[in-house]
């Protein structure tokens, strides 16, 4: 791609180099000149609506919005003339007069430097110390509190429509919109239904762009200003997409999770990754438990480990099950413990089957968002890899074609231009004659159709699920070269586990070690065994049924890495201090090995993970 040509412009008397295609705002921002704005957000398409970023451009008869005005060679821009400042102040005065900006009650409100509200900040910056127009306090503006995780207070809304554009352009969910006209304009969901009854999926992207306190999340509201919190870049281990997040903590509390704008997930998160992780969990396990007289009783680590050591030594075969949410480091320690100490290879992953990863060139998440043709073969990313689902829908909004080869409904079936069944593209038998016998022409043409569609596309991406018949995978291998493949892996670190040779499979033994971490087991049956150890962070049916329960750190308390479905190695960083009585997984295995008279060095374990 050619670099856009460079041109010279002047902003506030300063010569500035800009690129063709940039807006005045972008060129100014790149040169370190800040132009105030409210409806502008770097992640969103500019709207030119708030008129705060108006600037004077020579040869233009009126003030122009810098956020939409393209730069041109020799352009002379002024961002600070009296007319510009007067216009900006007039607009600010008007916004404050429109709805009930009772700043003192707003969670975003602060004093000067500490405010989180972009409107209030501009108010302070421009010395707004009185009402130019009588505030509109008599009107009651609705507060929509029908959603579980967040609240829309229309009284604080300035109709910048960042939320609408986020919902439309980033999440591609098209729930939020604008209702009515003129002064009666309101942000609305779908056909003006309560947010809670709308098609909203709680991705929460709107929360991340709201400049005021209009959209605020219930979990972190009033718990701290930006200036009082700590923001840590981390990775979500909710699923195999491996979204990059900013974890917002204060003290040893997780307040909120936000999506990282600069990561491949582009600020997007799903409801689970953004909100559910912050929800209070069922009772945390802080001390080892052993079953005595049928009842779990708290005991010491020594006691518990001794008991496990004894039982494992006596056991004929110790089997192991690990959660795919665990870091590669924990999984490596687990694998090493079984291999070296217990000399057992009867280990498996709780869930998270990984399909073959060698079908062709691997696609990235960005490839999905930018694809012009998307094929989904088995699997349901809208259900299981939700952020990927948003990226797919965004690509569809931008005109990508959708091909579905699937036996189940996906929620975007209506958008599909071609809908085949898995059977349509599979080769059943080896010999051409057999093939002819079992697949009549339509079936064969299914693959041909798929091939044709892929061939005519410039940036095709194929998303394929796990557990499909090998003939389907074989068919996919025959697709044209430009196809990029992305496996629809379930299980956050299933790819990492697969690299360690741990696969999702049933295990069997007379003793069982379940490394659960903070994973949920809802509905899954605990494998049968004579002696069961469950190493978990919170109580569950499995811990209740276990003979010994060991406390585990949660996802937010561990350090390590995971591999997402693209195969990217992502850092997992400790966001919170674990309780003193809860050691890291590796440490537990080292101590357990000691009890069994063997040695596992922590250094060796660390080394293992790094090798991967």
């Amino acid at each position: 791609m050619n670099e856009p040509a460079l041109i010279q412009i002047t902003i506030d008397g300063r010569p500035v180099q800009a690129r063709v295609g940039q807006t005045v705002y972008e060129a100014a921002a790149a040169a370190g000149i800040h132009i105030p704005a409210l409806c502008y957000h770097p992640q969103l398409k500019p709207a030119g609506a708030c008129r705060i970023c108006l600037v004077e451009i020579e040869k233009q008869r009126a003030l122009q919005p810098s956020c939409t005005f393209p730069v041109a060679e020799g352009m002379v821009v002024r961002t600070d003339t009296p007319a510009v400042v007067a216009s900006r102040k007039a607009s600010l005065h008007m916004i404050f007069s429109e709805r009930t900006h009772y700043c003192m009650f707003c969670p975003a409100s602060g004093t000067g430097e500490t405010t989180d509200c972009e409107l209030q900040k501009l108010g302070y910056e421009h010395g707004l110390d009185c009402w130019a127009y009588a505030p509109n306090y008599r009107k009651q503006w609705p507060v929509d509190a029908t959603r579980k995780y967040f609240v829309m207070d229309h009284g604080r809304c300035i109709l910048c429509r960042r939320c609408v554009r986020a919902c439309e352009d980033i999440a591609a969910n098209h729930t939020l919109g604008v209702n009515q006209r003129g002064a009666r304009t309101m942000i609305c969901a779908d056909d003006d239904v309560p947010f809670g009854e709308s098609s909203c999926v709680s991705c929460g992207t709107c929360l991340q762009v709201c400049p005021t306190g209009a959209l605020h999340d219930r979990q972190s509201v009033y718990l701290g200003h930006e200036s009082q919190i700590k923001r840590t870049p981390a990775t979500c281990v909710g699923c195999a997409v491996g979204c990059s997040i900013h974890a917002i903590t204060r003290g040893n509390h997780l307040l909120r999770v936000e999506g990282d704008w600069d990561a491949p997930n582009g600020g997007l998160l799903c409801a689970a990754g953004r909100f559910e992780v912050v929800e209070p969990k069922s009772a945390r396990i802080l001390q080892p438990l052993v079953r005595r007289d049928g009842q779990p009783v708290e005991t010491t680590w020594d006691d518990a480990l001794t008991l496990i050591g004894t039982k494992f030594s006596e056991a004929h075969l110790v089997a192991g099950v690990a959660s795919p949410r665990l870091t590669t480091e924990s999984l490596a320690a687990f694998e090493c413990f079984f291999h070296d100490v217990l000399e057992s290879s009867e280990i498996g992953l709780l869930s998270g089957e990984v399909p073959p990863l060698d079908l062709g060139a691997t696609a990235s998440l960005r490839d999905v968002a930018e694809a012009d043709c998307i094929a989904i073969i088995g699997g349901n990313p809208l259900q299981n890899q939700k952020v990927l689902g948003h990226l797919i829908r965004r690509a569809l909004d931008n005109g990508a074609r959708l091909i579905l080869v699937n036996d189940e409904a996906t929620g975007i079936d209506a958008w599909a231009e071609m809908h085949l069944e898995l059977e349509d593209i599979s080769f059943h038998a080896a010999s051409p004659f057999e093939r002819l016998k079992t697949t009549y022409h339509l079936r064969v043409s299914g693959l041909l159709q798929l091939k044709k569609a892929i061939e005519s596309a410039r940036r095709p991406v194929l998303l394929y699920g796990s557990g499909l018949s090998s003939s389907v995978y074989a068919a996919l291998r025959t697709l044209p070269e430009q196809a990029r493949f992305l496996p629809l892996v379930k299980g956050a670190n299933a790819v990492g586990a697969a690299r360690l040779g741990i696969e999702a499979r049933p295990v069997r033994g007379d003793a069982l070690y379940v490394l659960l971490g903070d994973d949920q087991v809802d509905g899954l049956a605990l494998p049968q065994s004579e002696f069961t150890v469950v190493h978990a962070a919170v109580r569950s049916a499995w811990t209740d049924a276990a003979d010994v329960v060991l406390p585990s750190p949660t996802w937010a308390e561990q350090r390590g890495h995971v591999f997402n479905l693209e195969g990217r190695r992502l850092p997992v960083v400790p966001l919170l201090q674990p309780p003193a009585s809860v050691p890291a997984h590796g440490q537990t295995f080292v101590r357990l090995a000691e009890r069994m008279g063997q040695t596992l060095s922590p250094e060796a374990l660390a080394q293992l993970a790094v090798q991967e």
């Binding site: 609506a49 008129r51 009126a62 919005p65 393209p70 216009s87 007039a90 008007m94 003129g182 002064a183």
Partner: protein
């Protein structure tokens, strides 16, 4: 019809169609009915059915054709009849029940029905055998409505059947497209359109050719031609009418544009509120496609062009091109910032060209007739024609197409036929709800893009709303603002919020809650909206408000300062329109209610709170109250003046001793202070009365031998008998006012002496306007030339002396058998003429330089009517240029005048037609062309005066000398009695305030509000009509000064008072105030 494969095919079809149409014209009767939306709404379909039935009944051969709208919307249903291939004759307002007579007379008897006919529409020479009766019908061209029109975009409107493509083709339809496809390159098309100077008729006024060129030059395979038919202005229907009446012109224009720009797809964005336009467009597109005039390889050429219709939901903002594009794309109709411009990135990101319906409709004609022809019409910078939907308070509402550059006043007064109902022009709003309201002083503005903008309005898409003096400009601005804010898309802050704040300010003002600060608020908000809004809607929303503030600031200030809506529209401010419009603010509904109950004394007392001269005003008041009476909307206004006269005369025998005013403390403070009032006219006497009532010692100095000013010394006795007049002046004396007659300022005393020698604390100059203006022509010094006012004064003073039983020394000229000429058109002129007749003149001519309608005396129509009845002859549009005669007048040479440009009063200025003069033989000439105050007593610069020699006063009536106040005609120039009384009231308040506090705030007269419940059932008087005033027979007026108006009987006066609709009670409801209890009020003051 078969598909046309070549340009030759089209020519053939044209010939065929022309023959078919000619054959139709030769029928016994070819009848055309206007069936635009306007026609259908007026019942055109029923009329058409009636015509068909009538023709069938009479077994007459006659095709009945539906045509579009010719523009005369006020006259729908329009029926056009052509018999035996002769002229078309157009009829107005033909309802089904009129059809039999119409057919009988016009078709069967070949005699047009004169009272229904509008005009004859002959194209070319009418056939020789055309019946004379038809030839006598005036031509279309000769009507004022159509005479100044030139039809380009509307050339076919109302002429052809819009649903038949062959009629369009017969009138050279698609010929321009064929020419372009056959002979011209796209560049050539653009060159011609550019050269023609066609500017965007949507209102933007951008060069259409340049726009096309920009789009042509934009890179891209796919381009779109979009027609903006989203006409959303209230009161505008130009585009609708063209689409309904001549849809193919638009399609052809779009196809030509498509060819020029290299586009093959066209989209018409038309609002769904135009179902008929959509139907006809759909039919037209289908027909054109069938004939191969749209679609692939048009007329066998390589050019292909398709047109689709997109219905809009009727959002005003979707007329903005980027919002229109968003709407076509299926998104919320909101504008986006430009650049990129649609020519670069428009519909679906492709280069697009958007023009208005009218621009496209004009294109084929420009192609056919050439750029030079188009440029020859209109003004140099805005060639061609402008199309307006002329609505509001004009006689000829409808659709007009006029050459650009035509003066605004010509549109309103010639094409529009002026203001109906005897009202006067106040303002014209152009450019739709975002335009501007122009005042009378703008009537000479040429109507084109640049001149209108300069004048403070905009061309807009073509709405033109005329308003009369019954319209409140603040309310009007609020109306447009309400529309614009409701139609704001809500995207950008200045428009969404600014509009709302502006509306709040205006609402406040119309409710009397405004402050002077609000004017600055309007300016600030408007400036911000104009500079910073995203699109034209927001930028121009303040247009009407700003223009009102610019041209009608006084009206806005009246709302703010006095809580007064001068035109009586603002509901919260106007208790009753009669009270509101009365300069003195007399509580009319209250005294009418009392008259209805026979409680005359109470009624008169209420009248006197504001106006001490009920008898005088009962005779000589122009009765502004009656002009605004809401009863007139049902039948006729209440005869307030006559009823009042009865009330006052009924109490004639009860002398009134005016009661003290103010608190005892106030009167304590004022006692011992002396005020001199100079002039015993209505202003001076009223001021004197009020000051005396407030406890001051008041002396009135009067130059003339009798008090009363113009009331006694100018108005002739036959209008205002002297006896009751002096009785009312006696009331003033009873208040303690000392009236000294024969005391001349400057001769018997000076201003300084009043203060220094006579010890007055304050002086009120109410000296009136007694100095007649000179004609300024040769011979004014000849004997026989008498100034109008001097003439009247001699007669009036004489009558006063006689009434008082004193000897008279008046020098009354002997007019017996003489020819008298009066120059002027005001009250003085008419009075002088009628007096001259009574003095025995043989001939009396009133010479006026304008037309009769423009006479200032028209505010008293009875006067002019009376003069006509009595035999006064009116010479209008003449002006004396020379008074002839040796020493004595023998005649006057008059120059004929024509009316040229408009002056600030919305009247045309008379201009001499140099070649046309004539002589009128006369023995006496009475110039009565206006008066100014007589300031001969004044030392130069003693007091500041205007160029018209009236006193310059501040808002508290203070002159440039402290302590000296002025009021009445001496301040306002010649006005009416009631206006002088109003000034007298106020100057008294001002003088009192100044004497007590030394402050000079704007005075306000506060009197209690009187609420009386009606005791009669209003429904019983629903059918009652205004009584006519019994008048002295004309024969009995000759040679005497007997009163002409004879007065009402008690019975008639009471019945008339009961016709009052009692707007004041409705106002109580509106303000949430309790209505008066009928019983309590009835018992309270019953005599």
């Amino acid at each position: 019809m078969a598909k046309l494969n070549t340009i030759q095919d089209l020519a053939q079809l044209r010939e065929q169609s022309q023959q078919t149409l000619a054959a139709r014209g030769r029928a016994r009767a070819a009848i055309f009915v206007g069936t635009g939306t306007c026609g259908i709404a007026a019942g055109a379909r029923e009329t058409m059915q009636a015509i068909q039935q009538e023709l069938a009944r009479r077994k007459l051969d006659g095709p009945v054709t539906t045509v579009g709208c010719i523009g005369m919307c006020a006259k729908e249903p329009l029926v056009d009849i052509q018999i035996n291939g002769g002229s078309h004759v157009l009829y107005a307002n033909i309802q089904p029940d009129m059809v039999p007579r119409l057919i009988e007379e016009h078709v069967v008897n070949t005699r047009p029905v004169r009272e229904w006919v509008i005009c004859r529409m002959a194209e070319g020479e009418p056939p020789a055998d055309e019946p004379q009766a038809i030839q006598n019908v005036p031509q279309f061209r000769d009507l004022p409505f159509t005479g100044k029109q030139i039809r380009i975009a509307m050339a076919n409107c109302g002429i052809i059947d819009p649903e038949k493509i062959e009629e369009y083709i017969a009138r050279d339809g698609y010929r321009a497209l064929a020419r372009v496809l056959g002979m011209w390159s796209p560049e050539e098309v653009i060159r011609v359109v550019k050269e023609s100077g066609l500017r965007g008729r949507g209102g933007g006024g951008f060069s259409t050719g340049t726009k096309w060129e920009l789009c042509r030059r934009s890179p891209g395979e796919t381009k779109y031609v979009i027609c903006n038919a989203d006409e959303g202005d209230p009161g505008a229907f130009m585009d609708r009418s063209i689409l309904e009446s001549d849809p193919h012109a638009v399609l052809e224009g779009m196809a030509i544009a498509g060819y020029a720009m290299g586009a093959r797809e066209g989209i018409i964005y038309c609002r769904e509120e135009y179902p008929l336009a959509i139907d006809r467009l759909e039919a037209a597109i289908a027909q054109a496609t069938d004939l191969g005039l749209l679609g692939s390889n048009i007329l066998g050429t390589k050019f292909s062009f398709d047109i689709v219709l997109k219905g809009g939901a009727g959002a005003f903002v979707c007329g903005e091109e980027t919002a229109l594009i968003a709407s076509v794309e299926g998104r919320r109709g909101e504008p986006r910032p430009r650049p990129p411009f649609p020519a670069v990135s428009g519909l679906w990101g492709k280069p697009s060209n958007i023009n208005n319906v009218k621009s496209y409709a004009m294109t084929p004609r420009i192609v056919l007739r050439g750029a030079e022809w188009f440029k020859s019409i209109g003004s140099p910078k805005s060639p061609g024609t402008a199309i307006f939907a002329l609505t509001g308070k004009v006689n000829n509402t409808g659709l007009i197409e006029v050459p650009m550059g035509i003066p605004l006043g010509d549109i309103i007064f010639d094409v529009g036929g002026g203001i109906p109902g005897g009202r006067s022009f106040k303002s014209v709003q152009t450019g739709g709800p975002l335009g501007g309201c122009l005042p009378a002083s703008s009537l000479n503005t040429p109507v084109d893009f640049d001149s209108l903008q300069e004048a403070g309005a905009v061309m807009g898409s073509g709405g033109m709303i005329v308003v009369d003096d019954d319209t409140c400009m603040v309310e009007l601005a609020k109306y447009f603002l309400t529309f614009a804010t409701a139609e704001s898309c809500g995207k950008c802050i200045p428009c969404r919020i600014g509009g709302q704040r502006l509306l709040e300010v205006l609402t406040r003002i119309t409710e009397g809650q405004g402050t002077r600060k609000d004017l600055q608020a309007i300016r600030d908000i408007s400036a911000h909206m104009m500079s910073s809004s995203l699109c034209g809607l927001g930028q121009r929303t303040p247009g009407p408000v700003m223009s009102v503030l610019r041209f009608f600031e006084q009206e806005m200030l009246a709302h703010i300062d006095e809580q007064l809506c001068p035109s009586g529209q603002c509901k919260k401010l106007v208790r009753a329109k009669c009270v509101n419009t009365c300069p003195a603010g007399v509580d009319t509904p209250a005294y009418l209610a009392l008259i209805a109950q026979g409680r005359y004394a109470e009624g008169l007392a209420i009248h006197r709170e504001r106006n001490p001269f009920a008898i005088i005003c009962g005779r000589a008041c122009p009765a502004f109250c009656e002009t605004k009476c809401r009863r007139a909307e049902l039948d006729e206004p209440i005869a307030i003046r006559m009823t009042k006269r009865f009330m006052a005369e009924h109490q004639l025998a009860e002398p009134w001793t005016p009661e003290p005013l103010g608190t005892p403390e106030q009167r304590q403070a004022s006692s011992g202070k002396k005020v001199a009032v100079i002039g015993a006219g209505p202003a001076g006497l009223t001021a004197a009365l009020r000051l005396a009532q407030l406890g001051y010692g008041v002396t009135v100095f009067e130059k003339l031998p009798v008090p009363g000013g113009m009331m006694s010394c100018a108005i002739p006795e036959y209008r205002l008998p002297r006896q009751p007049l002096f009785l009312e002046i006696d009331n003033i004396k009873r208040a303690g006012v000392d009236i000294r007659c024969g005391q001349t300022l400057g001769k018997d005393f000076t201003l300084d002496e009043l203060f220094d020698k006579h010890g007055f604390h304050s002086v009120v100059l109410a000296i009136g306007a007694w100095r007649s203006r000179q004609l300024g022509v040769a011979g004014e010094d000849k004997s026989g030339v008498i100034n109008g006012l001097d003439f009247l004064r001699e007669i009036a003073v004489d009558s006063c002396h006689r009434a008082l039983g004193r000897p008279s020394s008046a020098r009354i000229p002997d007019l017996r058998g003489k020819r008298v000429g009066v120059v002027g058109g005001g009250d003085v002129a008419i009075d002088a003429a009628r007096v001259a007749l009574r003095l025995g003149a043989r001939e009396v001519h009133v010479m006026y330089r304008r037309t009769g309608d423009d006479m200032p005396a028209t505010h008293l129509p009875e006067e002019i009517e009376g003069a006509l009845h009595e035999g006064v002859r009116f010479q209008t549009l003449v002006n004396p240029v020379e008074i002839l005669g040796d020493g004595a007048v023998t005649g006057v040479r008059l120059m004929r005048q024509r009316l040229a440009e408009f002056d600030d009063t919305a009247r045309r200025k008379p201009v001499a037609m140099e070649s046309e003069s004539f002589t009128l033989p006369l023995d006496f000439l009475i110039p009565a062309i206006g008066q100014t105050p007589d300031l001969s007593w004044m030392k130069p610069d003693q007091l500041t005066t205007t160029r018209g020699r009236t006193f310059v006063v501040n808002e508290a009536f203070g002159t440039s000398r402290p302590g000296v106040f002025a009021a009445g005609d001496a301040v306002t120039g010649p006005a009416t009695i009631v206006q002088a009384i109003a000034q007298g009231n106020l100057v008294a308040v001002a003088v009192d305030e100044w004497l007590r506090t030394g402050q000079m705030p704007k005075p306000r007269l506060i009197t209690p509000r009187h609420d009386f419940a009606p005791l009669h059932n209003l429904d019983d008087f629903a059918g009652a009509h205004r009584p006519s005033m019994p008048r002295l027979k004309v024969a009995e007026r000759e040679g005497n000064f007997k009163e002409v108006e004879l007065g009402l009987s008690e019975e008639v006066a009471q019945a008339e008072a009961k016709r009052c609709l009692r707007c004041d009670l409705e106002w109580l409801d509106r303000m949430g105030l309790p209505r008066p209890e009928p019983t309590a009020a009835a018992t309270k003051g019953t005599p």
